[in-house]
Symmetry: C2
Subunit: 398 residues, 2 copies
């Protein structure tokens, strides 16, 4: 049976769906996947860093030794040995984290979605950096967050501004290490001040840390989680240190919040793939990351240096940029008259170079003369060629 | 640095989080995982059906041949060859489904979450069967759904009752094949009537079909999707025909809705694991399911027969139950004076038998004298022993 001449449905979407827009970044990515484009637009790690053989061995071992368990439904909170590993790895600087504080999630983005689900009502105030990670803005916006941008400078947010704006806020979302999109790092003294201020104000402090392990030269700064585990919600990911395509991350938080997030996750996707969690545990339990991550740091560090050098050599006067000490991104501020949204279309067409315009990363007032450049998937020589061409295009606008 | 004597945060959860309750079923499952319990409570497929070696080969092949692609971020809508496979497999009975109508999701439960996200506002009316799948009720409730239970009988919902109650509803959620929790199947004539009525009323019709392939004897009835692809939203899963622990399902819907769901998924978890999708495609592309699924049908069919026989032999007069022709569940109605919630505690303690009380599956008025029994993970002999003990316990209450 087949319905004759059915009429098209008039969709009545939810209020939140009506307001959704496709991520500007992912739309651009679709264009810039063309092989003739030099893309500084991606947020993707370099596939050169993926330990394919090591993962293959881990999959084989888990499926051989525990296949029936790995392929069955699993607990919502996650695979206990991996939660224990996460808890142990974060028990530094005198802090003691236990597995009950750890929820495994299907990538950090899901951690953001679950945070929005359990903490944000329509109209809830959420504090974010200026600028902030677009994926977090999108996740929280779906639950009706009203963003307040915390004043920030080249070292990140300014804790002393919080007293005036935190009243009634549900949380403060921060990305202290090699932030996406700016590449900047919050200094230790600001972390201390931020943790103290949030504790005094009773404000949950989110510490999103996907890039923390990718510090090129220096030892990482102390995690805010370890300064106050009862007031900080920490988010980590295996995407940047192992591989992103498996979708695995974790949230560490005080148990009242973790329990709510676990309930929300149950209704959201039941649990994160048991097989994936067992394989990642198998892959890392004997210290693999300690040998592997330095190779990522070296690769990205060299390419970051190439980009910073090229910017110095080829970008015209009036441009400034961040000097990241880790992570994947450089943030560039052009002279005020240049709108990078317009510039992108021209760059892709004329010089086959892509980047991400900065405007979507601002929760409130966009600075349209900004751009995010990723250096991780482009070899140094090609970085120089691309940046030179982009510098000339910018100079032609001045 | 460590904060001295931090005060505990006073959590202010979202309205939806305040209302969440942990799934009664999963809480019970935690108790009934004890090996001394005969559990009819699970919703888990039998691990005996998991094709571990076949999956191992597929993982090995994908990682060997396309490791770098499989471990990288992927597109939000999913892996195209698999979406094409889904579209082809559903293009039956004269319907033509295209990959643009297919969104890959991290298990069917995520499909439910995304549907709630894009179709349900606080207070939106959502029509459901009586009783209905608990996971759907939980997913939609998080977005503020107000449920209206559609009158249903032992063959499922009654399409002729819709005119009176559909006004203003955002969708009708149905599970036509071997429903969870009742095991009942919607007859063909009711499917036709339902599709026609929903099309006339402009009401989106959800066809959730995780068990459709598990028909023990007869050819499956025509899918409602194929009767009207422009008005039906179909949800499928690899959990029951391949393995659940990998978390992979799909939603098929008209493109305006799929596009909204894709945007919502982007903010929810970016995309479903690329590796998983490539491996499942590798595992099934040459017709594996056509040999494999009959072995699941045989196992479950035999165990279903054992349970129906045992119920006939051992349950006292005044009890009635469904006669499923596929799927995983039998639904039992006891004499009115028995509350299965109370009975469960006693059954676990005294006779070490577990089941799921029926009340949580009712969106509105619960029938407390009902229970769901799963027969798929217990061998026939143990089924008989467990059902005999349960029958005696019930008889002792009458």
């Amino acid at each position: 049976m087949k319905l004759e001449n059915p009429s098209q449905l008039q969709w009545q979407f939810s209020h939140r769906a009506e307001q959704m827009q496709s991520s500007a970044i992912r739309e651009i990515l679709k264009i810039t996947m063309r092989p003739d484009i030099t893309s500084f637009a991606g947020g993707l790690p370099s596939p050169a860093t993926f330990p394919v053989e090591h993962m293959k061995t881990a999959f084989d071992r888990v499926l051989t030794q525990q296949g029936k368990v790995a392929l069955q439904y699993g607990p919502t909170d996650g695979y206990l040995p991996l939660r224990q590993w996460v808890a142990d790895s974060l028990s530094t600087d005198g802090a003691k984290i236990v597995p009950e504080q750890v929820l495994m999630v299907s990538g950090s983005q899901q951690g953001l979605d679950l945070l929005g689900k359990v903490l944000v009502d329509e109209g809830s105030k959420v504090l974010v950096e200026t600028p902030s990670y677009l994926g977090a803005l999108q996740a929280f916006a779906l639950y009706g967050a009203q963003f307040e941008s915390v004043p920030s400078d080249e070292n990140g947010l300014l804790p002393e501004t919080l007293d005036g704006i935190a009243q009634g806020a549900r949380m403060l979302y921060s990305l202290p290490n090699f932030q996406n999109p700016t590449g900047r790092t919050l200094p230790l003294e600001r972390r201390i001040k931020l943790v103290e201020t949030c504790a005094r104000l009773g404000l949950p402090l989110i510490e999103d840390d996907p890039y923390g392990a990718l510090s090129y030269r220096n030892a990482p700064l102390q995690k805010m989680l370890t300064m106050n585990p009862s007031g900080v919600i920490y988010m980590g990911s295996f995407s940047k240190v192992l591989t992103p395509g498996i979708r695995l991350g974790y949230v560490v938080a005080p148990t009242p919040l973790i329990q709510k997030m676990e309930q929300a996750k149950q209704a959201t996707d039941l649990h994160t793939a048991q097989l994936t969690q067992m394989v990642v545990y198998e892959a890392i339990k004997d210290g693999f990351l300690e040998q592997h991550v330095p190779t990522i740091r070296k690769l990205y560090g060299d390419q970051c240096e190439a980009m910073l050098g090229a910017l110095q050599d080829f970008f015209p006067a009036g441009c400034s940029w961040s000097k990241p000490e880790g992570g994947m991104f450089v943030w560039v501020t052009l002279p005020k008259q240049i709108d990078t949204g317009t510039l992108l279309a021209e760059a892709v067409e004329k010089i086959k170079v892509a980047f991400v315009p900065g405007a979507p990363f601002f929760a409130n007032t966009p600075e349209r003369n900004t751009m995010r450049l990723s250096f991780v998937t482009v070899p140094p020589a090609q970085i120089r060629v691309g940046i030179e061409a982009l510098g000339k295009l910018i100079a032609s606008k001045l």
